[in-house]
């Protein structure tokens, strides 16, 4: 439950407090109505500004901290505009800003820098290396429309640099290892996503990522994954039970004994009953469907495409799971698939395809990772628009009372 802070204004003669109705408890809303204007009070004016701010907060959890630049680009491009680092600031800033969204890297809330972690013997995955109090305070402030001076963790030097000023955006995305770890921060999230990469795929991706570096070998990559696994399993993995949507990335089942990790099986696990979020479905909501689009109307090249949709339970929650195994080879395959999916929250026919094409060069553009990231982007837009519409009607209702 969100906690509402009420600012008192003893200087004014008569003031009414109208708080938001219980239904819109996900973000705080304080509405002031004055009968007599005695004197202009700066603090009072500031509070009116706060009440107008509708920041939607999205959490994204992933292993490689804030490396999800292409995921972020996909998410933010649904709203239009490119997400870029803050202009004129620290060039090692991890923050991305576009018209509607600001993406904050949670590594900025490290309480220990690289040297500090070495001394204490804790990895970055360990909660002891992170300042959750500060994370909570600042996310709460941004959500209420208050700008914050957020620290910067410099990944090159491993030091904590001077803070940067972050203005409250319309949509705030907090990305990193621990967005859902702290309960108070969890409460502030309007929507949360967990990117769950299976061990085999993680290994394959890290090989692709690191093999070109002269310092690395197959052994070093393997050793690094193994060494981080205990902390990862203890601190990061459990967060997935709290996520509204989990994108699970697994090796394909279409090619026997494939270990290259190039063809992927991706599952979009969507929690049922989340406010403003209606899961995508195939053909018939709540039923179980297995679908291979390749056939007479659509020719696909090897290994083809296979879809699955079914209701399931995930950590005691009811969920709907949409799964795609295989790859898109051509534009018409993507359009064909899009035309058979329902509840996409797209604004026009072919919007998903258009968004995928915009970033055709990004990794994952030809499989479920790109497809589901794009769909999640549309869902977030839908959630945002519903939240805003809801907030707009609530004060009108309260004023009538």
């Amino acid at each position: 439950m969100a906690v509402s802070t009420i600012y008192s204004t003893q200087a004014l003669n008569s003031t009414h407090f109208l708080t938001s109705s219980p239904s819109s408890s996900t973000s705080k809303q304080v509405f002031f109505y004055r009968r007599h204007q005695s004197q202009t009070n700066r603090r009072f004016n500031t509070i009116i500004t706060c009440a107008a701010q509708q920041t939607v907060v999205i959490g994204l959890a992933a292993d490689s901290g804030c490396g999800k630049s292409t995921f972020m680009r996909r998410l933010t491009s649904v709203f239009g505009g490119a997400a870029e680092p803050p202009k004129g600031g620290n060039p090692d800033s991890n923050t991305l800003i576009s018209d509607m969204t600001t993406v904050i890297c949670l590594d900025d809330y490290h309480s220990l820098d690289r040297t500090g972690r070495k001394e204490k013997g804790v990895t970055a995955l360990d909660p002891r290396a992170n300042d959750f109090d500060l994370m909570y305070e600042q996310v709460k402030a941004l959500k209420s429309g208050i700008a914050v001076e957020k620290p910067i963790y410099n990944h090159v030097t491993g030091l904590l640099d001077a803070p940067e000023l972050i203005q409250p955006p319309k949509i705030l995305v907090i990305e990193g290892l621990h967005p859902m770890f702290d309960e108070r921060v969890r409460e502030l999230l309007d929507f949360s996503i967990y990117l769950d990469i299976s061990n085999e795929v993680k290994f394959a991706w890290k090989i692709q990522r690191d093999m070109a570096e002269r310092g690395h070998s197959l052994e070093s990559i393997k050793a690094s994954i193994e060494a981080r696994k205990p902390d990862f399993d203890a601190f990061i993995d459990p967060q997935k039970q709290y996520a509204d949507a989990v994108i699970e990335v697994l090796p394909t089942q279409l090619i026997p004994d494939d270990n290259e990790g190039k063809v992927l099986r991706v599952r979009l696990i969507m929690k049922e009953g989340v406010k403003y979020f209606s899961p995508v479905y195939l053909f018939d909501e709540g039923s179980t469907i297995s679908w291979i689009p390749c056939g007479r109307k659509l020719t696909c090249s090897y290994p083809g495409i296979k879809f699955n949709y079914e209701p399931d339970t995930y950590f005691d929650h009811e969920v709907s799971v949409l799964e795609m195994d295989g790859q898109f080879d051509r534009l018409d395959e993507l359009i064909y698939v899009e035309s058979h999916l329902s509840n996409l929250s797209s604004k026009f026919y072919g919007e998903v395809t258009q968004q995928m094409l915009k970033h055709a060069d990004f990794p994952g553009s030809n499989n479920g990772t790109g497809l589901f990231q794009t769909i999640v982007g549309l869902k977030i837009r839908d959630l945002y628009e519903q939240l805003i519409a809801n907030k707009a009607t609530a004060p009108a209702e309260a004023a009538k009372a």
Partner: protein
């Protein structure tokens, strides 16, 4: 890769970033110019244009990160010889991961997003050493 021409790593929607590439092609008139032309492009040349740093400062960061990866892998291998389950071993490999990811992020920014992290800093401070244009 999604591409009508099936060219490796093909970016079919975006115009070519470098004027230099124009000179390589014979002039063609049709609307599918961009597609056909991209197939003929020498792949190595286009990758160089898309994936390298623009400013000296960024190039220095790339090299520094690559060196750090090498150093830290050596360190981790040594530390873990004693006890592979010790805290020191975990922390050492975590550092390797952190630096490897930072290196990859920089590569992604330059290659896919065409953003040199020093871009806006160098607009304001073009005279600093870091902001000298990197020449190969």
């Amino acid at each position: 890769m999604m591409s009508a021409t099936a060219s490796h790593g093909g970016v079919m929607m975006l115009p070519s970033p470098s004027g230099a590439l124009q000179h390589q092609r014979p002039p063609t008139v049709t609307g599918s110019d961009m597609f056909r032309v991209r197939r003929k492009e020498p792949r190595g040349l286009r990758l160089v244009v898309a994936a390298t740093a623009k400013y000296k400062g960024t190039k220095m960061r790339e090299e520094k990160l690559s060196e750090m990866i090498e150093e830290k892998v050596k360190e981790a291998t040594e530390v873990c010889e004693a006890d592979v389950r010790s805290e020191e071993c975990k922390v050492a490999w975590d550092e390797v991961e952190e630096v490897s990811q930072a290196r990859a992020d920089l590569r992604i920014k330059l290659k896919f997003l065409n953003q040199d992290p020093l871009e806006s800093f160098c607009q304001e401070n073009p005279e600093t050493d870091e902001c000298r244009i990197y020449e190969d």
